[in-house]
């Protein structure tokens, strides 16, 4: 959950925005799955939606008030519905995309016995 609790992350200093995330597909929070298999146009839309999600997350970090932070959090929820429609499976709810580890130790395939590499 990366400490994302509603209404508790408002930025109080007015410093510059955090640096942008790496280009799409290179950062773990942008999704590392093998794709939805639903077609190239769907996959392109999924990539664009992930980029928007990352932009919103950065803007949320820089929110000037609880009102803005909460509005952006809500926007991310709606955006995540769209990610579900395009077969996004790397995360099942919005906060999973924000700084959470991409795979917990328990889901590491090497942990299971007898799993072929």
């Amino acid at each position: 959950m990366a400490g994302v609790v509603q209404g508790t992350r408002t930025r109080t200093d007015l410093g510059p925005l955090p640096p942008p995330e790496p280009e799409l597909g290179t950062g773990p929070q942008l999704g590392t799955g093998a794709g939805s298999g639903l077609g190239a146009d769907v996959e392109r839309q999924r990539a664009r939606l992930l980029a928007v999600h990352a932009h919103l997350a950065r803007e949320r970090e820089a929110a000037l008030s609880p009102a803005i932070e909460r509005a952006l959090e809500t926007a991310q929820m709606y955006l995540f519905l769209a990610l579900g429609y395009v077969g996004h499976t790397d995360a099942l709810f919005p906060d999973e995309l924000q700084g959470a580890p991409t795979a917990s130790p328990s889901t590491d395939p090497t942990e299971a016995e007898g799993v072929e590499p």
């Binding site: 959950m1 639903l38 519905l81 429609y85 099942l92 889901t107 395939p109």
Partner: protein, 460 residues
């Protein structure tokens, strides 16, 4: 929405990409989501970790469908009830704490115990989308209006319809806190495109309108939508509703409190509902062995994994609903999602075997509606005498029908001819049986718990 509305290619489907995807692609998405969800639950829900540890299973073991079917344990309502009773929070199977909750609900308690449920804000949004697939298919569009015929309470089903309306962009008209007669008048005044209620209550409003000399057909309602009972998939009740309301469409939704409205009818009526595969995985199992049902047309117990409910994950969860699943439907709607003809055929924990014949309550309900002179109001009373299951069908005569004994004989003959067994029948006068605003109680099981079908597997 404007982009999709302006682009004609998407007009028929709420989400064409997945609604028309082939079975293999859908199954690949399901497996990816299930694996992710199992890991989430193992890491965050003590209940799931206990269940999986007790079975000697780690999330990374679940790599194939065979792993899912045969290695991952089932979960069942008693698991959650025991957990909620032993936890300080009073909730079972929690993976996220109260700081994430937006709303509290509980199940309807039809099986005797309330299951407490907590949903995050995202989950309520997501739950609302589940209704959009079906309502869109029936022709509902943003700026259409929807009238809700009920008071909002603790049952999540009504709320998800509300969130569905919000997600679809409908104008909401609340009929909360009103009498039936007031609701009829509201509907005639506000002329909503959609009226939402249980089938029993929608029929009840039609009776009130008739009694008051009001013509509901003048309200211009296009779509009647609801769920919670079998009626909206019973042909005679659909016909009666269409006639009384002048509606063009009847929309049925099937759900369970734990995973919400996961089944929706499409625009081509084929006698049932589709699983909403964007939000859950559905399959059926033999209630006794737990083995997947593989034969075409086979009846099995519905097992669900929800992708909507993450505060309390429900993974490989036994619903105890008996269903037939057509996993490659082809009735012309274009949806590739699994179809449940007849929706819920019965309950694995209300299963009745009379002289060797499995009798499904839904089949009895359909047959009652085919007997002229009866209303849609009825009750099924299950009992056991001398080691034998018995079913008494108590049905209500239409207004003005006086020869109740003759009607009982006709109903008995109709049931025997179609089911192959004789059931007891009793006809009561018009207006005798209770009317309910929410889920109608129709099945009364007086058998001792030990005498019922033992398909709820208690975990030691």
């Amino acid at each position: 929405m404007a982009g999709a509305l302006a682009n004609a290619v998407d007009q028929r489907f709420w989400n064409r990409a997945t609604q028309t995807a082939d079975r293999e692609r859908l199954d690949a998405l399901h497996l990816a989501r299930i694996r992710h969800l199992v890991g989430w639950a193992y890491d965050h829900s003590p209940l799931h970790r206990r269940i999986y540890d007790a079975a000697g299973v780690k999330p990374a073991d679940i790599r194939t469908w065979d792993d899912y079917h045969h290695r991952l344990p089932f979960t069942d309502k008693p698991d959650y009830v025991r957990d909620q009773e032993s936890s300080e929070s009073g909730f079972g199977g929690l993976a996220l704490g109260p700081e994430h909750w937006q709303q509290y609900f509980h199940t309807t308690g039809t099986t005797g115990r309330f299951l407490h449920e907590a949903f995050s804000q995202f989950e309520m949004h997501k739950a609302g989308t589940q209704l959009c697939y079906g309502l869109w298919s029936q022709g509902a569009r943003p700026r259409d209006s929807i009238y809700f015929c009920f008071d909002f309470g603790m049952w999540v089903g009504l709320w998800t319809y509300y969130w569905g309306a919000r997600n679809l962009g409908l104008t909401i008209v609340s009929g909360g806190g009103s009498t039936g007669e007031q609701r009829v008048r509201h509907i005639l005044e506000r002329r909503p495109a959609i009226v939402c209620g249980t089938p029993t209550y929608l029929l009840h409003l039609a009776e009130i309108a008739e009694r008051e000399g009001l013509d509901l057909r003048r309200a211009g309602v296009r779509i009647l939508a609801g769920g919670g009972e079998a009626g909206l998939s019973v042909p005679r009740i659909r016909a009666r509703l269409t006639e009384a309301w002048g509606a063009e469409r009847i929309h049925d939704a099937y759900g369970i409190g734990e995973a919400l409205f996961i089944g929706q009818s499409c625009d081509v009526w084929a006698g049932g509902v589709h699983a909403i595969e964007d939000v859950c995985h559905s399959y059926s199992v033999d209630p006794a062995s737990g083995e997947p049902v593989t034969e075409a047309g086979g009846v099995g117990e519905h097992v669900v994994t929800s992708y909507t409910h993450l505060v309390q994950p429900f993974i490989k969860y036994r619903t105890h609903d008996l269903v037939r699943i057509d996993d490659r439907p082809d009735h012309g709607c274009g949806w590739t999602w699994k179809h449940f003809p007849g929706v819920v055929l019965g309950r694995s924990d209300f299963m009745v075997t009379i002289r060797g014949v499995n009798v499904y309550p839904t089949a009895v309900e359909n047959l009652i509606s085919e007997v002229p002179g009866l209303t849609h109001h009825y009750e099924l009373h299950l009992s056991r005498r001398d080691g034998m299951d018995r079913m008494l069908v108590r049905a209500e005569a239409a207004a003005g029908v006086g020869a109740l004994a003759d009607l009982a004989a006709r109903l008995s003959a109709h049931l025997r001819d179609n089911l192959g067994v004789r059931l007891e029948t009793e006809i009561v006068h018009a207006g005798t049986l209770p009317r309910y605003e929410l889920k109608t109680r129709r099945i009364f099981d007086a058998r001792e718990p030990g005498a019922r079908a033992a398909t709820t597997r208690e975990r030691r």
